[in-house]
């Protein structure tokens, strides 16, 4: 019979199913006759449940960024996986003018191969559709040659990367849809797309991941319309520290006076009422904001924003100077 002390040390391994057959048998027999050890087993089970609670789930945006970075790095590393340097690889190097230690003859071979590909390509063109017809390798347009290689029938196989549209639909709760939306909200080229996307995300700002994206848009988007839209979405969460911090940043560094005015309104909303009901607490809570407003007064050039700021400072009986 196992002693209680020994059994206690084996409970975690029992729960993991990592005791040997004999060990498990001995522990089970002991537990049948020992209420204290059964209680200890239950405590160990609770502890295991508690362990689960500290596991961190990486946000979808981090996963997405990681995939993007990896894709870029892999693209820079091409030609990739195969370390076999056969005649074909060397020929490709010569075609793409990659540095090669094999002298100039390969370039001649490469040029010959280019003619061959052109010939075979022209013969294949009718089957490939009008967009391929007449396309040269040097001018692929929306198509890009990813790789070329020998085909099974003795011809050439060319893999093309093509820009194509695809319609994806799903619910807002769908993780794939969310990942796409979070990506679209940061699209560097299309402010209209960002505006629409931020508008959709505003309805889902209760999740911290979406809020982070809205905060990112508020702080970094070059388009004031998108920033303003993001601020709208964050309005219900103005009491959250990260949102207040972002709004404080807008107040001090956003170049658009409309944005600064909105930030003042959001950061000080309800200030008058709470000052009446809970004066000490309200002033305490908003001391940072008062300091920020005083800092703003030192540098603000826009008369309207100054007026709004001064009005708030008067409301809380604070001076318009930095303390």
């Amino acid at each position: 019979m196992n002693s209680c002390e020994k059994v206690r040390t084996q409970l975690a391994m029992l729960l993991y199913g990592e005791l040997s057959f004999d060990e498990e048998e001995a522990v089970d027999r002991h537990l049948e006759g020992c209420a204290e050890c059964r209680t200890a087993l239950e405590q160990q089970r609770q502890l295991h449940l508690a362990f689960d609670q500290v596991e961190v789930e990486p946000p979808a945006s981090l996963l997405w960024e990681s995939r993007q970075r990896l894709q870029q790095q892999v693209a820079e590393e091409r030609p990739p996986i195969s370390s076999r340097r056969g005649w074909w690889d060397q020929l490709i190097d010569s075609l793409t003018l990659r540095p090669s230690g094999n002298g100039g003859w390969l370039k001649t071979a490469g040029a010959l191969a280019l003619l061959t590909i052109g010939f075979v390509g022209a013969r294949m063109a009718p089957n490939l559709g009008p967009q391929i017809s007449g396309m040269s390798l040097a001018d692929a347009g929306a198509q890009r040659v990813r790789s070329v290689g020998p085909a099974a029938n003795g011809g050439i196989q060319i893999v093309l990367d093509e820009t194509r549209q695809r319609v994806v639909s799903g619910q807002l709760d769908d993780q794939n849809i969310q990942v796409l939306l979070l990506s679209a909200a940061k699209d560097p080229f299309d402010p209209g797309l960002r505006y629409e996307t931020v508008g959709i995300l505003n309805d889902r700002a209760q999740t911290s991941e979406v809020r982070d994206t809205l905060i990112y848009a508020l702080e970094h988007d070059e388009n004031a319309g998108v920033r303003l839209k993001a601020m709208d979405g964050l309005r219900p969460f103005v009491t959250q520290p990260e949102v207040r911090k972002a709004l404080t940043g807008v107040l001090l560094s956003d170049g658009n006076p409309g944005m600064r005015t909105q930030a003042i309104d959001l950061l000080t909303q309800g200030l008058g009422e709470s000052t009446n009901s809970l004066p000490g607490k309200a002033l305490d809570l908003d001391r940072d904001i008062i300091g920020t407003l005083q800092e703003l007064m030192n540098s603000e050039n826009n008369a309207y924003v100054r007026q709004r700021g001064q009005r708030v400072l008067q409301l809380v009986n604070a001076s318009a100077e930095t303390y």
Binding site: T9, E18, F51, V56, L62, S66, L70, R146
Partner: protein, 197 residues
Amino acid sequence: MAQTAGIQAEEKALIRAAQEGDQDAFGQLVRAYDKSVLRLAMNLLRSPEDAQDVYQEAFLRVYRNLNSFRFDCSFHTWLYRIVTNLCLDHMRKRKVRREGSSQIEGSDGPVDRMDTFQESRADGDPQRSLFSGELRQGIKKALSELTVRERMVFELRHYQGMKLRDIGETLGTTEEAAKNCLFRATQKMRVALGDFV
């Protein structure tokens, strides 16, 4: 069993295609494993930046060396060997630099920046009510006080759900050594957290 065999065959085909330069096949392999790799790195290193570095380096190594993969072990084991080695390097360097903490200075004193990330199984769990913030901090502290190897084995067993045999294979040791490591880790955790439960 038949389904597992089917998945294994599918993975094998993907690996072979990727070895022959099929970028899409490589992408599919990445997507099959990258979430759990990122989660492992994030939980071990408690820093999104370091986790992302490990992610990049691990998959780049896979990309560069996939041709030398000879199916002597499972792809999962091979990948995790790379990932765990990278994480162990990070953790050891950090121990040397005494930068084990992910705490940053907040307006109300030090806060753990990882607390801003979603904890995976918290929502909708009936046990949540039993779970106190104090216990959470206690667990984090106890985890941070494990040795680097104990921490790794505990992570792989408890959070990644790997069996000790696979953990041993991944870490280049025996199942018995991994078992001893897990045993020490769980004993330390039990002693450190015994008062909470």
